[in-house]
């Protein structure tokens, strides 16, 4: 098939090492491929939150973006899966005798076989100011009490390490980050709030994230950032991109309102 050859020539161009690449990705993890409809397909590395697996997802994401196969409408990376939304009638034109799905399955399998040749662009590092003041963190005191931890300790653990943006979903620009230190992990709220303020920093299980818009939400709220995370008028509307590294920095309530006023 013409596909394989095309794939190889793209790889040659991509591995010419002029892209500021840093970490290379090892052999593929075990995976399975399944349909999510008759115009979408998912490659699944198992139900795991793991940096190496997510790095592989992102390697595949950039490879597929670069490849830019006509007929692929969306590429959605998640923790350990990548989903492709495609235009079946368009792909049909070069799918040969088999089904469009079989063609896409083969396409993904081929793409994955190239992964050990691939490398990822280095992660961007973003510093995000967060105010952990009680007035902006409705669940923080209760969490500290449950964990018999003082507030400063909780904050220092939450700000101790950078978090990886594993994926973006739920709302435009909502970044799913992790992994939390187990000392501060907490489950979702039993009953989700109907209103969570824009900029609220939440935690749920091993995950942490920020609500870019006011919305309903079920995560435990431990702080708020004054930054605007989603700017609809920008070409690149989401501040966070999958694969970013995010370092939270604790700020005072005064700093919060100063920055907030500056931002608006």
């Amino acid at each position: 098939m013409g596909l394989k050859k095309n794939v190889e020539s793209k790889i040659a161009a991509f591995s010419s090492d002029n892209l500021g690449l840093t970490c290379s990705v090892e052999k593929p993890f075990p995976y399975r491929i399944y349909p999510i409809g008759d115009q979408a397909i998912t490659l699944d590395f198992g139900n795991l939150i793991k940096d190496e697996i997510n790095a592989q997802v992102m390697a595949l994401f950039y490879w597929l973006k670069e490849e830019n196969l006509h007929g692929i409408k969306d590429i959605i990376p998640a923790y350990s899966t990548i989903s492709l939304v495609y235009d079946a009638p368009m792909i049909r034109k070069w799918a040969g005798n088999g089904s469009v799905y079989q063609y896409m399955e083969q396409y993904l399998t081929n793409a994955l076989q190239q992964l050990d040749l691939l490398a990822l662009p280095s992660s961007r590092e973003l510093r995000i100011p967060v105010c952990y003041h009680q007035s902006l963190a409705p669940d923080l005191m209760e969490l500290c009490q449950e964990k018999q931890m003082d507030l400063d300790e909780f904050v220092s653990i939450h700000t101790a390490i950078p978090y990886r943006v594993y994926m973006i979903g739920f709302l435009p620009g909502f970044a799913y980050m992790g992994s939390l230190d187990e000392r501060i992990m907490a489950p979702r709220k039993q009953t989700p709030r109907t209103h969570v303020a824009a900029g609220s920093v939440g935690i749920a299980g091993v995950q942490t994230g920020i609500y870019p818009f006011a919305s309903p939400g079920g995560w435990q709220l431990i702080g708020q950032t004054p930054m605007t995370l989603f700017r609809a008028n920008d070409d690149q509307p989401s501040l966070f991109q999958p694969g970013d590294l995010v370092q939270f920095e604790s700020i005072s309530i005064d700093q919060f309102y100063q920055l907030k006023n500056k931002a608006s």
Partner: protein
């Protein structure tokens, strides 16, 4: 040139085929719910199939044409009248300045689509003109239409029209909407359903609950359970994904769906069945029938072919009428 909203409807918005290429940033496609009706109204007036149309629910708006237009309606039948005279769906029509389009009662279906030759003017955002109510972008100022809004035509219609005139041809849309069950492709967690739940999925009715909208249909049915509970990480979902919620009920994701979700995926509605699904109302029942991928693909290919044939036929007829087009 355009239409004035004399009275707003329940949720009227400007839609195209959807905003693709940004789901990795959490931005949903959000195109027309019934993509067949969107294409049919565009085909009838000679537009590209994805030109901007008006999607209307019942109660639907009252619209006044402030210039002549070639228009068409398709999808739900809300008993439309032009200046008090009943007009048919799926038939292109010339309307003169000052005509008032009204919708009088919901007869069948859930969403009616209006096109005008040249399409409606709408804000572009990230490559599409469809409305994103959340980001308040695209469509008409990023929101649903309100009384007194002025919705302009994207291209002027340069014909003089003295009185309403129905074009003497009709699009036969019956074959574009499969009758009977809603076709479902089994999802990744389908096999984890216990035997009784599998039986339920294909033999019991699923009723659309009142808290259903463009984001998703909440369905009420006999409870379903996985034989073994599985916690899923969020991953990509789509228009038509059927998810099992913790309360043993299901939700069917529609055009404004989240880009990712973590509930077990029981199945995915085949593309060919999505337009029929989009025409259902709260209280209606859905019955699912499992089909395999080859069947789903060929049914969709047949639907697409039918639309292409309709387009060719309509363009031919239109050219006879609008000779300088």
């Amino acid at each position: 040139m355009g239409v004035r909203v004399l009275k707003s409807g329940m949720a009227d918005s400007l839609r195209d085929a959807g905003r693709f290429g940004f789901q990795h940033l959490g931005i949903p496609p959000g195109g027309a719910m019934d993509s067949v009706a969107m294409q049919v109204v565009n085909i009838l007036v000679g537009n590209p199939i994805g030109a901007v149309v008006m999607e209307m629910h019942y109660p639907a708006p009252q619209l006044e044409f402030n210039s002549p237009a070639l228009m068409a309606l398709s999808g739900a039948d809300f008993q439309a009248t032009l200046d008090g005279v009943e007009i048919a769906l799926n038939q292109p029509m010339l309307v003169p300045t000052g005509s008032v389009l009204k919708f009088n009662k919901p007869v069948s279906g859930a969403r009616c689509y209006l096109s005008v030759k040249g399409g409606f003017e709408a804000d572009e955002w990230l490559g599409s003109r469809t409305t994103n109510n959340f980001a308040v972008r695209g469509g008409y100022q990023g929101r649903n239409l309100q009384k007194a809004d002025w919705v302009a035509f994207a291209k002027p219609f340069s014909y003089e029209v003295e009185e309403p005139a129905v074009m003497p041809w009709t699009a036969n849309v019956r074959e574009l909407y499969p009758q009977g069950p809603c076709y479902l492709i089994p999802g990744a967690e389908y096999e984890l359903l216990d035997a009784a739940s599998k039986q339920c999925l294909t033999h019991e009715p699923f009723q659309i609950a009142t808290n259903s909208n463009r984001m998703g249909y909440r369905l009420q049915s006999a409870p379903m359970h996985l034989g073994e509970y599985k916690e899923c990480l969020s991953s990509g979902v789509g228009f038509g994904t059927l998810q099992l919620l913790p309360d043993a009920q299901t939700i069917l994701l529609m055009a404004d769906h989240q880009t990712t979700a973590g509930y077990p995926r029981l199945g995915h509605v085949a593309s060919v069945s999505l337009p029929s699904l989009a025409q259902l109302n709260a209280g209606d029942n859905i019955r699912f029938q499992l089909i395999n991928m080859n069947t789903a693909e060929s049914l969709y290919a047949a639907q697409e072919k039918h639309l292409r044939q309709l387009k060719n036929a309509c363009n031919f007829r239109l050219q006879e009428y609008l000779s300088n087009d």
